[in-house]
């Protein structure tokens, strides 16, 4: 009965079964990593890097839902990241909103913005969608740089620290736990989403948009949902980053930053939540480790991106998962 199997060139085979099932198992492993990593950290610098990893990973998890699962693209996600940070900072400094309110409020506003611009934008596909998101991201970064009365201009603005229950959250170690916890929450939400009818609808969209429509899946609605969700994830990470660093600049909204985020997602793994985390980890830590390569950083990133897309278009984690699965089958 066996006939020629059908092969697919573009739509990535989601091998997330190994990496993401069981949902509970994978999250527990991640939780263990978060809990135990400090044993390896000898100084505040290590905590700082780890915190950055966690915060980047939050953006990447959201972006992975958009790019890897739903098959869309965004070259402007740094815009949402920066707006989360600036939004919370402006609400806190200009309007005296306490940070524990300004943070979620800013993120909700960014979600609203993503909803409004998502509707017309997601009607586009492929390179037109890429260009539209790129254009939006750059417009956001130009506005942030220019409206200096609000944003402090190209040099950025100071951001007040996060105050929770009257207690100032400051310092690398505390922030590590906060960021790690936020990451676990983000991963849990994302995994839940994947294993749900909505998650299947997204993956169906990526697999065959026409077939999914004939099953009653309203592609516009789901694309918008995942776009808004990923924007909110980026805004949360951006706001947390801003309050952690005490500072934010328009560079956080730059095209380069958007591209870095895409590289992390693509490298770590399309359609793989843990891949997104791994991608964020590797590409945040690597430049820190190889300070010798500081000058070559851009070249290395570029080469990584090209190499990954040419040789492992599915990304590291799914490719490794497949090798692993084959070894044991």
């Amino acid at each position: 009965m066996a006939h020629a199997t059908v092969t697919v060139s573009d739509s990535p085979v989601a091998v997330r079964h190994w990496a993401a099932r069981p949902r509970v198992g994978g999250t527990l492993v991640l939780a263990a990593v978060v809990a135990l990593a400090p044993l390896l950290m000898r100084n505040n610098y290590a905590y700082d890097v780890a915190t950055q990893v966690a915060l980047n990973a939050i953006v990447c998890v959201g972006l992975n839902l958009l790019i890897g699962y739903a098959g869309q693209i965004s070259l402007g996600h740094a815009g949402f990241f920066a707006l989360g940070g600036y939004g919370s900072a402006i609400l806190a400094t200009r309007y005296g909103v306490p940070v524990w309110v300004s943070l979620p409020l800013a993120c909700a506003l960014v979600g609203g913005l993503a909803f409004v611009i998502g509707r017309p934008t997601l009607r586009l596909k492929g390179h037109t969608l890429a260009m539209a998101t790129l254009g939006l991201g750059i417009i956001i970064s130009i506005v942030l740089s220019t409206e200096d009365r609000w944003t402090g201009g190209p040099d950025g603005m100071a951001v007040p620290p996060l105050v929770l229950f009257g207690w100032i959250v400051k310092g690398e170690r505390i922030w590590y736990w906060l960021a790690g916890g936020a990451l676990l929450l983000a991963v849990w939400l994302a995994l839940n989403l994947i294993e749900s009818p909505t998650g299947r609808a997204l993956r169906a969209l990526h697999g065959s948009e026409v077939a999914s429509e004939t099953l009653g899946i309203r592609s516009a609605r789901y694309k918008l949902q995942v776009f808004v969700l990923s924007a909110v994830f980026a805004a949360v990470a951006g706001a947390l980053t801003a309050h952690y660093a005490g500072f934010i600049t328009p560079a956080k909204a730059s095209f380069m930053h958007s591209v870095e985020l895409v590289i992390m997602v693509v490298f770590g793994g399309m359609a793989s939540i843990f891949g997104a985390v791994v991608g964020a980890a590797v590409l945040t830590v690597l430049p820190q480790l190889l300070t010798v390569l500081q000058d070559y950083e851009m070249m290395v990133f570029g080469a990584v991106l090209v190499g990954t897309m040419v040789f492992f278009p599915q990304g590291i984690v799914p490719t490794l998962a497949r090798w692993w699965a084959r070894r044991w089958s």
């Binding site: 199997t5 169906a204 697999g207 429509e213």
Partner: protein
């Protein structure tokens, strides 16, 4: 049975692509619970018709009524919501999912949830997911793919994929199932399995519209045959009627040939 209102009622359907009239002034009725086949030479407009009946193409004019409800101008997902399911001639399987996930996705209209429920995995959702999984397993069994549940669909053989699409389309429990060349590319054994599957579906009350070139299958499984040629109706009737129809014989062969008996659509099977 013929006195009852048809499930699908098509009037004056037309669609042109530039100067090419894919379908012109078509009228067709499909009775509830029947297996209704659409046949015709290549280029007759069969796939265009299926695309219009599933909402993928928008007709230029005409009326498409399903159980009395007018569907002209509606978006694709509205056709699905109204109760029309379909398979594709050139497989549109979700190759990024396993067989089971494909069929579970087919149940979308029954199972969809809010974003909140999806993110939080409410107990209600968990229960619904279990039910969905069980239903999808049953559908896979029904089409004879019981062992393929967790197999990535990209690794499945062609014949299995054709059946997978049918299982997926059934997930939404459609009133009307459109099958676009389900036996294309299959060998005789596989085609017989499809034949048996269609008969089971019909026996259970699903109305089927079948586009097919495999004449043995068409003759054996159909209650009613509709012959298309150059976008217009050429003939219709029971398999026996159509097989004997002079116009059908002519369209498939041209005029005045001594070889009529062998090559006509139904001749060997009438």
């Amino acid at each position: 049975m013929n006195a009852a209102a048809p499930l699908l009622d098509i009037r004056n359907l037309s669609k042109a692509f530039g100067g090419v009239h894919a379908i012109e002034g078509l009228a067709m009725q499909v009775q509830r619970g029947a297996v209704h086949s659409v046949i015709g030479p290549n280029g007759a407009g069969k796939t265009s018709l299926i695309n219009m009946l599933s909402g993928v193409y928008r007709p230029d004019t005409g009326s498409i009524r399903l159980a009395g409800r007018e569907l002209f101008g509606e978006p694709v997902h509205a056709f699905a919501a109204a109760g029309i399911g379909r398979t594709f001639q050139n497989l549109q399987v979700f190759f990024n999912m396993t067989a089971l996930e494909n069929v579970m996705t087919g149940r979308h209209l029954r199972d969809r949830c809010s974003l909140f429920a999806a993110l939080l995995h409410t107990p209600a959702l968990v229960r619904a997911e279990t039910a969905c999984r069980d239903a999808a397993r049953a559908l896979l069994r029904q089409v004879g793919l019981a062992g393929y549940e967790d197999v990535p669909s990209a690794s499945m053989p062609y014949g299995a994929l054709k059946r997978l699409e049918i299982a997926r389309a059934l997930g939404a429990q459609p009133l009307l199932l459109l099958l676009d060349e389900p036996a294309a590319g299959l060998n005789a054994t596989e085609a017989r399995e499809i034949d048996a599957l269609i008969r089971r579906l019909a026996a259970e009350g699903t109305t089927v519209v079948l586009v097919e070139h495999n004449m043995r299958l068409v003759m054996e499984v159909s209650d009613h045959i509709f012959v298309l040629d150059h976008g217009r109706k050429l003939a219709e009737g029971t398999p026996a009627e159509v097989a004997a129809d002079a116009r059908v014989i002519e369209a498939y062969l041209g005029t005045g040939s001594g070889h009529e008996q062998e090559a006509t659509p139904g001749a060997a099977y009438a």
